[in-house]
Symmetry: C2
């Protein structure tokens, strides 16, 4: 990396907070995207660890003047290459901006710097009697800033939506160096165009988010898990559809193929409580009162039985619940060495059956394993293309083309939670018209006229 | 209005659907903004009533080529001059695009054309067993398209937020004539920059919304109202703050000065059930179970009593509830002939006490009546400046300046639900930096390079 850049960075943040040794820089240059689809990583980068929005502003002004590429880095947990450096880049690591600023119990908000991790937030509210932050996209190493710009999702979207639904306000540094604020601790706010939502889900191409105000929720006292097994996916999908029609909103509804969940259990030496059937629905339910929890179980099991469920199991104790969650969380790691591409499309609940049917046909046509697990309750399924060595099969392009065409036919989105990053850009034209994409590009140009911020991402 | 324009409009939508007689055009040229602050209305307009997005597209292409001003018109219920024509304008009335397209009970959405009224939606779900659309900004003559671009609010925001929180997808025609789609029936959707939220709350300056997909909710079976009276505003505000801290979310919490609510009751010959105290909190509560409703009453009354409530009254019967709602709804009409300016700022719940205290000081300083009623549960208070004849008092500018400075000091928004329209533009610089406003203007320019769509609004 250019010596002048390194010196300038040292000037701005202090020598201790600039990393330029190749071996130390290396891990900052990429994220957790599968190796078969990950773009080629450029390690000719410098890592800078600023302590404030003002320091980031200085870095941006310098980079913008000189047209150097800049990328913000949070926990590096992206699965779409959003945090992969593909050219010599000034990588801004947010790790030092990790203060939780305020929990406001009247406005029901928590304000924190962007480098605060999900784990920090979980631990903060573990200690709190009655409030918590409901969004949990999985990896607790994720940082709040990254979660905002990637609009992270996770299992609890059925009831609480995604990050977008919980971000009340934010501070960001623009590529041109100005610090802006959008939103606030407000339920109603109708002044001006909505810059806040533009930055949410922008995958770090419009600005670097430095501070966030999130809404927090009352903690339900009673939480439970319910596992229901089915012979086939269409019965499971019908059950989910009927559950929504009945007006019920569990915290989460997860869908798992038996083979995948049993493999995960075996891999960590644990026992999955159901051996019958071919697919499971895993419900996480939370209620203010214990009675309501039991009533919820009863309604769900009733609807599932009407849709040919073959077995159901209530995880009563917190130990049993933890076991279920642990095995479920291990599904992806247990298949990781075989995953070529973890597609994360989302479709409307109404079209779930059509989507699942279509995926099965593609699978049968090409004879390549496509494992389907995921957040069925919010329509966001993970279809992982698997091969023995996680190398692309010959028919990879055709399979992916067919899957995404199916997604669009089902009125879906090509990515429900991972984002476009640097791996789905070419597919955007399936979901958007040329005019829609041109609007997005023109908006990017308004924020970042020199295209210095995370180029090659999101659009 | 230019004869060529009229002819072209007749060509596009058919002669029957173009109105050019001054007396018939007149009512389409303005909205419900108070006369003391309403911008000067231009009636040299033509009203066009298209039947489809395609016809609107044709109108736009023609207007854009010739740089004619265009304004979409819904129910005309805006209070901020957003639907006031201030120059010769092609007014596109959405009244013929009034089809409800689909209720999807699995995806929990209703899709409709933009000219569907709130009344249509209310009536549709009155007939439905278990689902409804929760947002209710008041005037049922409002149209869905207008509600989306104005990001309408109303009393139920405490639990359900505002329009923005319920819009899943939309179709819009750009000023340059292209038809775009954003969002869908999806809970998770992470592809591309968020054009949907840009259009929501854009006050009709980025595009004309032609179709909308809204999320719908399970109907609570049990609904009730509770009235609690206090000697003074600070006790009432403290009670609200404590209620939120306790984790309770009523459907609505309204705040009313006794003088205002008694005047409203008298005006329509009805009786308000409480005569003691100086301010009332009016809670609307809905729960799935009757027991939960009573428990909610008990908790709320308990907290209010701890904060010196002097009387409480539960409206048990639906007749009693209807009486409360009717009187509350009449507060604004009953003072309308005195209202100079109905300020609708919003502040964080945490800063409500400070805000109310500040308003009182301004009121005392200038000796002009400032009536405060409003949606205290979401921090959106309506401070109406009153004079006998609704003419601006001499110190009007100073009062408004002080109120808005106070709003900003309280980390609030200058408008919580009415929007900037054509009456608050000058105040935007209080809430936003020059750079933030320039970003918004540049985005407007991306969508509308010739500035033909509702010029003078929102920015």
């Amino acid at each position: 990396m250019n010596e002048n850049i390194i010196r300038k960075m040292q000037e701005i943040v202090g020598e201790d907070w600039v990393v330029s040794d190749l071996d130390k820089v290396s891990s900052y240059c990429e994220d957790e995207t599968e190796k078969a689809v990950k773009p080629k990583v450029c390690r000719d980068c410098v890592v800078v660890k600023p302590a404030s929005a003002e320091e980031i502003s200085e870095i941006m002004k310098y980079a913008n003047e000189n047209k150097y590429s800049v990328m913000a880095r949070g926990g590096g947990t992206s699965l779409s290459g959003a945090a992969v450096a593909i050219m010599p880049t000034i990588i801004i690591s947010m790790e030092r901006m990790n203060k939780i600023i305020e929990v406001d119990e009247a406005s029901l908000t928590v304000e924190c710097e962007a480098g605060v991790t999900l784990l920090d937030i979980v631990e903060l509210f573990n200690k709190h009697d009655s409030l918590y932050f409901p969004i949990h996209p999985g990896d607790e190493g994720a940082q709040v800033g990254g979660m905002v710009v990637m609009n992270a999702g996770g299992v609890r979207a059925v009831r609480y939506g995604v990050m977008r639904d919980q971000v009340k306000g934010l501070e960001a540094v623009l590529p041109t160096g100005e610090i802006i604020h959008a939103g606030g601790k407000l339920i109603k706010n109708n002044a001006g165009l909505d810059l806040k939502n533009l930055l949410i889900g922008s995958e770090g191409i419009l600005g670097i988010v430095t501070k966030v105000t999130l809404s927090i929720k009352p903690k339900d006292k009673h939480i439970g898990s319910l596992l229901v097994s089915f012979e086939n996916d269409s019965d499971a999908v019908n059950a989910v559809t009927e559950i929504f029609k009945s007006g019920i909103k569990p915290l989460a509804i997860e869908y798992m193929e038996k083979t995948a969940i049993l493999r995960a259990a075996e891999d960590i030496g644990m026992t999955w409580p159901s051996n019958v059937g071919n697919v499971d629905l895993y419900f996480i339910v939370s209620e203010r009162k214990e009675d309501d929890l039991y009533e919820m179980y009863e309604t769900i099991v009733g609807i599932c039985e009407e849709n040919n469920a073959v077995e159901s199991f209530v995880a009563e104790s917190s130990k049993e619940q933890k076991t279920l969650l642990e095995i479920r969380s291990h599904v992806y790691p247990s298949m990781h060495k075989m995953v070529v591409d973890a597609i994360d499309a989302a479709v409307p609940i109404k079209n779930l059956a059509k989507y699942m049917e279509g995926i099965k046909k593609i699978y049968e046509k090409y004879g390549v394993e496509i494992s389907t697990i995921g957040h069925i309750g919010d329509g966001n399924m993970h279809n992982s293309i698997l091969t023995e060595d996680a190398e692309k099969p010959e028919c990879y392009d055709e399979i992916v083309d067919e899957i995404f065409n199916l997604v669009i036919e089902c009125e879906g989105a090509i990515t429900g939670e991972h984002g476009v990053g640097k791996v789905r850009n070419e597919r955007l034209k399936l979901q958007f018209t040329e005019k829609e994409l041109n609007l997005m590009k023109a908006i990017k140009n308004v924020f970042d006229p020199n295209n210095i911020l995370n180029p090659g991402t999101a659009l």
